[in-house]
């Protein structure tokens, strides 16, 4: 599939051809997987997808936009619900690190963050995406609050921030193989810090 299927692909009239879109996204993923962010250029993607550059620019105005869509097509990492906040967060981080380590997702997200340092639209998109994820992690905290594991006056957003920051930095400094015990220790420090005072 993908590059091969692209052979002979044509327009399907005055509307977007989903085959082309798919081929382009798959090609983008392939380029990132095989050549990394350094080799990720619109030209390379177009070549691999057997698509014209303007077709890419028509739908994704910047490298960042394409990167985001590629990232969003990736499988989501599952967030456990063990009934215990420490296990939930440690499990989530473990899953996330494994996901980033073993699929192209990690490379893609790293690239997106890097791109955001020089491209405003990437920055905006990343901010948007982060907001969504913050809510997601926030729900874990809220559940724990309901169970009485977390003090009622704790700001779930800040906790989510701490956890996400920890993950980002491990991604950006190539430490996704972090020891489980270390992850758990980091989580424990935070979880203790937000526990209700007895």
């Amino acid at each position: 599939m993908g590059e091969a299927a692209a052979r002979g692909r044509k327009s399907i009239g005055a509307k977007r051809n989903p085959e082309s879109a798919d081929a382009i996204i798959e090609a983008a993923e392939g380029v990132l997987r095989e050549a990394g962010y350094a080799g990720f250029s619109i030209e390379a993607v177009a070549r691999r997808a057997r698509a014209g550059k303007p077709t890419i620019y028509r739908w994704w105005p910047s490298k960042a936009a394409l990167l985001i869509e590629v990232y969003q097509r990736q499988k989501r990492v599952e967030t456990p619900d063990t009934g215990n906040i420490e296990d939930d967060l440690a499990g989530f981080l473990k899953n996330l690190f494994a996901h980033w380590r073993d699929t192209p997702s990690g490379n893609i997200f790293r690239s997106l963050i890097a791109e955001a340092q020089s491209d405003g639209t990437a920055a905006a998109a990343l901010a948007e995406y982060s907001k969504g994820r913050r809510g997601h992690t926030g729900r874990m905290i809220e559940r724990a609050k309901a169970r009485g594991e977390v003090a009622a006056d704790v700001d779930a957003g800040i906790v989510a921030d701490l956890i996400a920051s920890y993950a980002w930095r491990h991604l950006l400094t190539d430490r996704l193989d972090e020891d489980d015990a270390m992850i758990r220790a980091a989580v424990r420090y935070v979880v203790r810090g937000i526990a209700p005072t007895p």
Copy 2:
């Protein structure tokens, strides 16, 4: 000084000309300050420093190397010693955010992180640098341990990691104007989490 002084600078014979090196580093800093990472190219630096590109490549084999040297020339942010770990860490983060916000340092460090995502030498340099900083922040924790504010079995490295991660993410997502109260809350969560159990 700087770009201006470069006018007419000439070779000083069979050794590295420190005037040139200075002019190049200052030009690099200037480019980063004014055009950001997006506009940071060897060409731009050479143009601004009135230097030849090969002169730059001779001494800094990659953009990353130049970036690192530029970053290391920056003033360090001071780490307070208030006798209280929460105040120490919150003050440190406040100072750090202000430093990154108000000097080119923020732009430079962001660029270095971005560069590290596609350049191995930048990644290595960044890892090296981070190790040093971890020790540095770690000492704050160790002092607190000595004062009995922090449990003895706490891994200072992990705490330093959490704090640094929080800072990085704010830098990378353009949130250096974070409210003091928020910073303090985040710090408090961690500080409480590592306090000795009574």
Copy 3:
């Protein structure tokens, strides 16, 4: 009329819509008038005519074909009949230069000649057109022959060629503002050269 009227123009069933054809030709003329040959593209014409590109390609298989039809819609320059061959030819050239200078015709014809240098159909069309014009100018010579102003054995086609060539070159080298006296001198040299030997 023209671009404005095009708004909302639709198919009128299974036959060519003359409104569209007109709008396209007028748009083509407009583009040539305002942007010259350099700006003359099928896209630009379609945009201005509010027509689809395929509608243009359906009826004019190439830029050349459209150019030819546009040129043929132009008003012809009038050929004086003063009873004197020198006045006839000089007047004709003067009129022709003015026509080319003051209407889009000049731009269009220049474009057609240029196009003919890389497009065979344009070349063929131009040859066809030139043959017609040669006959036309030839008649001026024949009239003069009948009046005894021109030797009987003169080849009218060659004379027409000389006159047309002179005109073309002035068009192609932007010398349509040539002095009347110069034009008349050129004509006189030829007219004398074909006069009957006394």
Copy 4:
């Protein structure tokens, strides 16, 4: 030589590399010869010369500039001096037509004229070149004047114009295989027209 020799060609320091310039001009000539004006693009020339596009743009700011230099590298057509103006001019045209027909020169010059219809710099360059050629042909006339074959008050420039125009139009309408007798007749008409009145 040419494309082959280009393999591995490098800069020779802070000055123009004549090997590159040669390779580019030869490649340009080759492209024109084999693909004609329609296939003449800077990309194609760069590809064939194994040169970077910027190297071409550095020295020839437009297609026209390159075209002109290519044309000027061509062998000049020789202008006979038979002592008789009719023979001189007819011989010159015959030679010119043969030259244009049998070498790439014809294609190149046609292309240059076409280019001049949409590119101002080409037009200017062509005007400049034409001025030079007009003087050249003019000298044939002046010689004839000195011999008493041509009236003293004849404007040599206008005669040169007539002759050059005749040649251009034959080039542009693909009639370089014109019969010698026809050429001679055209020349005779003009020569008679500028002979001194007895």
